[in-house]
């Protein structure tokens, strides 16, 4: 629990952070620090320089204006409590409220969370389901990455070296129904399985379903087979069961396992939580 020696620099702007990242190959960004610092204390990572972006206030805003924009430095606690988030996309507020514990939520940030890309983390799942866009800035300017393309593998994202996540943009989801259903690991509180459902309904019929699973697989992934099953269907028990079966089949051998939740169990739980997320979204 004693990190190796490192230098520390506080960046006062995104531009400054980008510049420092470009100048120091062995640097890491420090936002909330709730993934990075434990890893440093265990000496699993020993960066030579920490660039603290935690005081860049412009990255902390949450505002709804045509789309919902969440600054990368918004803490989980603020996302969970935000009236705009609750109104715009309640599944995200709920997912943020289920991260870690209160102390973690008070420090951990949504940008840091997605840049770390823990496979069992909650925000990636709901952001993909929402069709969110991740805005980043690097030495060569800004770019926007679809959330679906952002999460590449275990702890691996589409971020290029030197890029900083600046904000997350969530499109207007008015008229959609959404929910996040999660089974927490009893120790870490990370998702053993988390499923987010975003549904466009016309009466009882599902026009479109966006269904995403996290926790059970290497990175949050759309359950496209299950989405196809539900398209144009009445969401009765039989349809949900068929979607669950399709999701289980799609996850297949990609299901991860550990001593708490073996792969066969996680795979089965994808089906269970898919149904729970849809039922919860439908209210």
């Amino acid at each position: 629990m004693y990190p190796a020696k490192f230098d520390y620099y506080r960046a006062n702007s995104v531009e400054e952070a980008v510049k420092l990242l470009a100048e120091n190959s062995d640097a890491k960004l420090l936002a909330g620090g709730h993934s990075l610092i434990p890893a440093m204390k265990l000496r699993l990572t020993q960066p030579a320089l920490l660039i603290d972006i935690g005081k860049i206030d412009s990255l902390k805003n949450i505002k709804a204006n045509g789309s919902l924009e969440i600054g990368a430095l918004a803490t989980h606690a603020r996302v969970a409590a935000s009236a705009d988030v609750k109104k715009w996309f309640p599944a995200l507020a709920n997912a943020a409220s289920l991260i870690g514990d209160q102390q973690v939520r008070n420090f951990g940030t949504i940008g840091g969370n997605i840049a770390h890309a823990d496979p069992a983390s909650d925000p990636p799942t709901v952001l993909i389901a929402a069709g969110a866009t991740i805005h980043v800035r690097g030495a060569s300017g800004t770019r926007a990455i679809a959330a679906e393309d952002f999460f590449v593998d275990l702890f691996t994202t589409a971020l290029e070296p030197g890029e900083v996540v600046t904000k997350i943009e969530i499109p207007n989801l008015s008229g959609r129904k959404s929910a996040y259903a999660k089974m927490s690991h009893p120790a870490s509180r990370y998702a053993i399985v988390g499923v987010c459902a975003v549904l466009s309904m016309e009466g009882d019929t599902c026009k479109e379903a966006r269904l995403v699973v996290g926790g059970a697989v290497a990175h949050a992934t759309r359950l496209s087979e299950a989405e196809a099953v539900l398209k144009g269907k009445k969401l009765d028990a039989a349809a949900l069961k068929a979607a669950a079966d399709a999701a289980i089949a799609q996850v297949g051998d990609d299901a991860m396992g550990d001593i708490t939740a073996p792969a066969d169990y996680r795979r089965a739980m994808v089906g269970q939580y898919l149904q729970r997320a849809i039922q919860s979204a439908l209210g």
Binding site: Y2, A4, K5, M183, P186, S188, I259, A261, Y265, Q272
Partner: protein, 785 residues
Amino acid sequence: MASRVFGASIKRKEDPRLITGEAKYLDDLQLPGMAHAAILRSPHAHARIKSIDTSAAAAVPGVLGVFTGKDFMDVNPLPCAWQAGGVENHVNTPRVLEPEKVTFTGAGVAVVVAESRYIAEDALQLIKVNYEVLPAVVDAQKATQSGAPQIHDNAPNNVCMEWSCGDKAGTDKALGEAEVVIKERVVNQRLIPTPMETRGCIAQYLPATDEYTVWMTSQAPHVMRLLMTAFVFGIPETKMRVISPQVGGGFGAKIFLYPEYCLVTALSKKIGRPVKWAETRSENYVATTHGRDHITELEVGAKRDGTITALRVNTYANLGGILSTIAPGIPTTLYGRLLSGAYKIPNIYCHVWGVYTNTGMVDAYRGAGRPEATFVVERAVDMVANQLSMDPAEIRRKNFIPSSAFPYDPKILNGLKYDSGDYDKALGKALEMVGYQDFRKAQADARQQGRYLGIGFSSYIEMCGVAPSAWIGLPGEGWGAGLWESANVRVHLTGKVVVTSGSQSHGQGHETTTAQIVAEELGVPVEDVIVQHSDTLGTPFGYGTYGSRSASVGQVAVFNSLQKIKEKAKKLGAHLLEAAVEDVVFENGKVHVKGSPDKAKTIQELAGAAALGYSLPAGMEPFLDDTAYYDPPNCTFPFGTHICIVEVDAGTGQIDIKRYVAVDDVGKVINPMIVDGQVHGGIAQGVAQALWEGAVYDENGQLLTGSLMDYALPRADLLPSFEVGRTETPSPTNPLGVKGAGETGTIAATPAVVNAVLDALKPLGVLHIDMPMTPARVWQAIQKG
């Protein structure tokens, strides 16, 4: 006295300093010139150390010294202070650093002392150890089988000791004749105690006097000094002072002498500066003792009417790679001898294999042997009930030792008897609190709706204040010392009372409950009593705090000291009142002439008179000051019934605890609020064993649950509000009538939860699920069901 202090829920005297952060724990202490140690630990579970290159580490600026096991060959291996009684034990204990071979992941092999812990950790990364990695075995039963890797030369088949108790022939015969016999293999999984504060040690050596002062996170500072001086260093006991500052929980894991304490003590002399080592949580998980870890084959026999006739138990107790201080005593005396539980079981036989494996040390953890025994008994009783389609409450009632039978000799207790009990009363109260008949109706209705509710019982007994010394000690059960306690009481000139005791408080509230006893006996305000403990300088010898012994042994010593003080006060009072001693009484804090309460001297007046010595009876020494040493004539035997109600989600295997009712009988209660706190915490840990906690090693001896990200501790949001009740059957063993309350919750809760889950899943044909009953395991059992 107007209102009794004994038995009142007064607020804890120690809490203001704890909740304001003023209390100093080990790692808060800073000494001038203090250096810092970091320990290199083996990444392998079983390996020979071929060579260690410390040169690069030694060259790091700020490093004061780098040492390996070879530098401490003049320091003895640590003692094993409790070997299984009456049998041969093949003892292997740790050295301060292992010089030749490691037998578990996390064993210390080298140490760096530096100006800061950061520098020490940097240097640690530069030490190169050349290991010859050996095959490992982690399962205690597999370790005894032929072909298993051999860990110690003196322990063939990795068996440290084989111990048995009870009547083998009688049990075999009774099982042969039983109308019903049920066999099951139960695993009481390994747990990691996880006190809030990890371990640590600071040692200071003073060359002028050749004396050590050692601060350590210990539940038993006097014993630590004894073991370190007399056994490890071979120096006079008077050359060391041990201080346990504020200790942030122990749960048993801080009873023991650990290699690091001896290492830091040796380093303080080598370096010539005070040295601190404070354990990280990662170290705590591999290098501090674990608990439980039994594999048990049980056979229970009964008549068709539910009368249990025999219990045969064969247990493989995992002791880890090397022995901790009292490891062999836990799965023998504290386990096998408790297997009669609350029941008349005429034939019991228990065989225990104490086994070395390539895992961390295993020793006492809250309950220590009694939770394992209770789990076996309470599961066995439920299995019989299930087999015979009997009500689990009814079968317990049928087999209970009746209240008329006390003191009761369960025969396997090697001569001791259960002191007092009324098991039926506690069960009855618990059934009433839970509303048993209503629950069964609700359960039936829920099953109609496809919901799975279950109720589980645990009617436990346990054994606290283990004694007498002549029973537990070397001639009997193998404990390598005595188990009495001592206390000194001084009433100062001002009437304020100072109690020093050999007990050690690390969360139990002794400063409050001891003050309550003093206030009750002497009639002084609780605020006028201070209790000093946990420093070998200024406190009388004591064996420390564990096994729920501080009330039933330590505080009885306080009580006995107070009787001596009162006797002397009476003599002095009679003298000052110009009355005969026979004509005065000590009452409500005053000595007065019988029948004339106004003709009195207060305890404060008497303390002043005794301290000034202006007018003492002939031959009386000044001052009210006395010490008592108390060796109990028997253990105490708390009991009770816990009832848990759960709902199982058959789709996911998740378990929701709907209600938890606990009725405990811990004898007389000094402070109900403190007992409630102990019961609550104990239940949380007991529930956690049933549902969440479990240390897992892979086949190579790597701890897979090495952090709080993986090892699931109980959390408040996972538990219901406990419904706690009590019955009160005073212990006849001691004059306070107290039994012990520190471990009942942990002992009782685990089988109550497991029995509840299996009751819920009965319609699905599920008869057994290993602990922890994770959603995955429950779900898999339902799939197979």
